[in-house]
Amino acid sequence: MSLKTIQVALWALAAAAAIALPIAYLSQTPVTQRSSGVATVGGPFVLTAANGQPFDSKSLVGKPYALFFGFTHCPDVCPTTTAEMTGFLGELGDKAKDFRVLFVTVDPARDTPEALKDFLSSFDPRIVGLSGSQEKIDAVVRAYGAVATRVDLDGGNYTMDHTASVFLFGADGRLVSTLDYKENPTVKLQKIKNLLGV
């Protein structure tokens, strides 16, 4: 590291502290008042699983789970995340027997339960694909504080901008942490292990 880099880094730190300290001070009092202790991310839903059966989020009660959004016409991020979750499930083996992994489509128009089943056939069979009406999907996306926007491409096709993080919930249904797409896989796996207490 050159002297110049160190100087720049120090100035950046000083600048960050100058901004962060007053904010931390200002937000000190309200924080205790705001905390209600109740998770604001997530909520009940009934969707259709890839096997065609209804899936009620009530069935998740008492078990830790992971939920992420995707769509099967996404050949880059979605298979990467799904494959990574497959790898984690494989690595955890029986330790993950109470752990549910849910893939919720943000593109129900194209992702019928059959299409999801087809897509997920390449991955761990424990990953549950969920589809439903556009209204139901929109409600789930909103409840999880996620984003899903259709973007038209040339040639009549379209893609979906969507939240790519994986949400991790504890057995009590509260959001525990999220896995960021760019995060190191070792860190992701550790977060899941922490969630499962293994």
Partner: protein, 156 residues
């Protein structure tokens, strides 16, 4: 240490075989084009490769043609606040002189839209890359498993 951990984990997930193949066209070297197996009904597939420019002038990948789909686009992928966005690079992809551009999962990539059939393991396919200066070059895409990642140690 950190790297070793990452490598072992990456290897345990799914890693593209380190067997490389490359194609030359003028000052350009196209390295290891690969794709991922798709589900039976999939209508979209992805392609990845890297291009090195040993010349003194920039070149640009302006089009890709393939028999597996009629519409092939180059997309960027960005993450902002955890939201994934894909956009077509309508003006093509520039390869700077003396530089390298990597198309890989989580970054720029090739999209085969409207697949005529699924991309299958063991069924490598060809595509023609059209460069502004270097012209056309046919390359073979090796098909890897559905969630394959680039080989972590694959360097030239």
């Amino acid at each position: 240490m950190k790297k070793a951990l990452f490598l072992s984990l990456a290897a345990s997930v799914l890693t593209v075989s380190a067997v490389a193949h490359a194609f030359d066209k003028g000052p350009l070297k196209i390295d290891h084009p690969w794709s991922r197996e798709t589900a039976a009904q999939a209508s979209t597939g992805a392609g990845f490769l890297s291009i090195q420019n040993y010349g003194k002038t920039p070149d640009r990948l302006v089009a890709i043609k393939s028999s597996i789909s009629d519409d092939v686009q180059v997309h960027t992928m960005t993450m902002e606040g955890g939201v994934m966005r894909m956009r077509e690079l309508k003006n093509g992809l520039t390869i700077p002189p003396g530089g390298e551009v990597k198309l890989q999962p989580g970054a720029e990539h090739i999209m085969f839209m409207g697949l005529k059939g699924p991309i299958k393991l063991g069924e490598d396919f060809t595509a023609t890359l059209v460069f502004e200066r270097a012209g056309e070059v046919e390359v073979t895409f090796k098909v890897e498993p559905a969630g394959a990642k680039p080989a972590a140690g694959h360097q030239h």
